[in-house]
């Protein structure tokens, strides 16, 4: 049960193996046509409309929107928070994966299920779940509403599975012989980890972290109740878009949206290239 709800490595990508590919028959050609029309109506045209709306005012208007002090503050906060969360996830996620794979103790399987919960929960419910313990009537006396720590905690919650679930399978596959060899040659446990294990985990940690970063940048639902949305203080990019929409400033909303879209596209293309390279090498 290494990847129950999370499939971060994105196996939707087909391999580049050309073997076994049929030419389109008339029937499958029609099928492809129908699928493309639906995909365009649902995904491509609307996304193109966002780009169109952002570009409608020209480069100057686009640039002015993004460099407007309040918008810029929201973008900066989003990137900083996402960056912090990514660093914490990179370290703690690896530790969690390590414990889940290498350690044996009572209740380990329950922890394995717990990892998937943040991903399975609806985002608004995730926000409410955190608020029940760290909200206004917190039993432990911590109130994260309208604080940057609150945003950090919410992002940490929703991105928890990414690194764990990408590192876990790699750790399971690792060959014990190499570690035995290193140890028999006198390497300490730490040296073995740093020189033997860590290098083989780095691609997985990177992949998981970048997926987590992309998710954190675009996160919305879990922040709605937690972030107080105060300009310059606790306003993040996705909530800024909502504010633009509610203020009937579609061009402003589209400008920020295009930025988020670029981050999303960059992440999946980069991961696609990396996974292809790794697949070729392996």
């Amino acid at each position: 049960m290494t990847d129950v709800l999370v499939k971060p490595a994105g196996p939707a990508r087909t391999s580049s193996r050309p073997s076994g590919l049929f030419r389109l028959t008339p029937a499958s050609g029609i099928g492809l046509g129908v699928a493309l029309v639906w995909f365009s109506v649902l995904v491509l045209l609307p996304l193109a409309a966002v780009v169109g709306a952002a570009a409608a005012g020209g480069w100057g208007a686009f640039w002015n929107t993004l460099t407007d002090a309040q918008t810029f503050a929201a973008l900066r906060l989003t990137v900083i928070e996402a960056g912090l969360v990514t660093v914490v996830n990179g370290i703690l996620g690896t530790v969690v994966a390590w414990v889940l794979v290498r350690d044996q103790f009572f209740g380990k399987r329950i922890l394995d299920v717990v990892i998937d919960i943040p991903f399975a929960l609806p985002t608004i419910v995730a926000g409410l779940v955190l608020l029940s313990l760290y909200g206004p009537e917190s039993p432990v006396g911590i109130n994260i509403v309208n604080t940057r720590q609150g945003i950090f905690l919410a992002l940490l919650f929703v991105t928890l599975p990414f690194v764990v679930r990408t590192v876990q399978p790699v750790l399971i596959e690792l060959d014990a012989d190499v570690e035995e060899a290193a140890a028999s040659l006198g390497a300490s446990r730490f040296t073995t980890f740093r020189r033997i294990i860590l290098p083989s985990l780095v691609p997985a940690i990177t992949a998981g972290s970048s997926l987590g970063f992309a998710r954190a940048i675009s996160e919305f639902g879990s922040l709605v109740l937690i972030s107080g949305n105060t300009p310059y203080q606790t306003e993040v990019a996705s909530l800024k878009i909502l504010k633009f929409i509610e203020g009937d400033n579609q061009a402003g909303a589209a400008a920020v949206a295009v930025l988020l879209l670029l981050v999303a596209i960059f992440t999946i293309v980069a991961l696609d290239l990396v996974s292809r390279r790794v697949a070729r090498r392996g």
Binding site: S15, P46, A49, I117, G221
Partner: protein, 282 residues
């Protein structure tokens, strides 16, 4: 794991420190908040609010709550149906057929999961709203309204869960290869017979798995739905929007009751998914 190697089996103080840290981290981040949500659902902190299971059921039977859950169920049903048909079709095309742009399409199909839900909502508004959308005017003159109506909600839901079925089927299709299909067609089976008798049985579990994941995701979608919906009581208020509205209106007990139902649904999805995964591994 049947790992009996001496190096890996050795326990040092570090092992226990890491085990304890991971348990503490996951408890504080996930387990305790989840417990607190459950506690608040059945014993609301709010003054005058009744606790217990019957009060919980009563809150769920409020007409506006049943309306919200019915709307959510309707949207999820249609979105999952559309995504399943589309997902099976596009997976077959991507894996089995050769056509220009195949690789680009396989990357694009994964895009919807990485797009921020707010951006999804904005994209649909900019394409189809009768006031500002690219195609809004045309659709309006044809008497079709998408934004603010149930079809719009279904589109938003279908958008965000689109890749889930594809992601499950593509790896299975790649793994089983085409030998059986070629054999069937050489024995005189037509395309439909080959699909129904050979391909479908082998991707059956992947389809079920993808459907469960899509369903869980569809039931919990918030951001995209929030943008395209009027979001008022009895007018496009889905379960997730209801949670936000009630929480911000100081009707916490109802918000917690609805959230608890969604928590149960996602935990159920996790359980089902891990049960399906098991036979896969054996």
């Amino acid at each position: 794991m049947a790992d009996t190697s001496t190096i890996r089996g050795r326990k040092s103080p570090v092992t226990y420190v890491m085990r304890f840290s991971v348990i503490a981290y996951l408890s504080v981040l996930v387990v305790w908040p989840l417990y607190e949500v459950t506690a608040r659902t059945f014993a609301p902190i709010e003054r005058g609010a009744e606790g217990g299971f019957s009060a919980f059921l009563e809150r769920l039977q409020d007409p506006s709550v049943t309306y919200a859950f019915q709307l959510t169920a309707t949207c999820a049903f249609w979105a999952v149906l559309i995504n399943t048909v589309f997902g099976v079709g596009i997976s077959l095309l991507l894996v089995r057929y050769q056509f220009p742009g195949r690789r680009v399409l396989s990357v694009l199909v994964d895009l919807p999961m990485s797009v921020s839900p707010v951006v999804v909502g904005l994209a649909l508004v900019l394409a189809y709203s009768s006031g500002q959308g690219w195609f809004g005017g045309v659709l309006e003159s044809a008497g079709i309204f998408i934004i603010g109506t149930t079809p719009g909600l279904i589109m938003a839901t279908a958008f965000v869960s689109l890749p889930l079925v594809v992601r499950e089927i593509v790896p299975v299709l790649e793994e089983i290869g085409i030998d059986a299909e070629l054999a069937a067609s050489s024995l005189g089976a037509n395309g439909w017979q080959t699909f129904r008798r050979i391909t479908l049985p082998s991707i059956k579990w992947a389809v079920v798995y993808g459907v469960v994941l899509s369903l869980a995701r569809s039931l919990g979608e918030f951001g995209a739905v929030k943008i395209v919906s009027p979001g008022a009581e009895f007018r496009g208020e889905t379960a997730t929007i209801l949670i936000q509205n009630r929480y911000t209106n100081y009707e916490e007990p109802t918000a917690y009751a609805a959230a608890f139902v969604l928590v149960l649904a996602s935990v159920l999805a996790l359980v089902v998914v891990s049960l399906i995964r098991k036979p896969d591994h054996q």
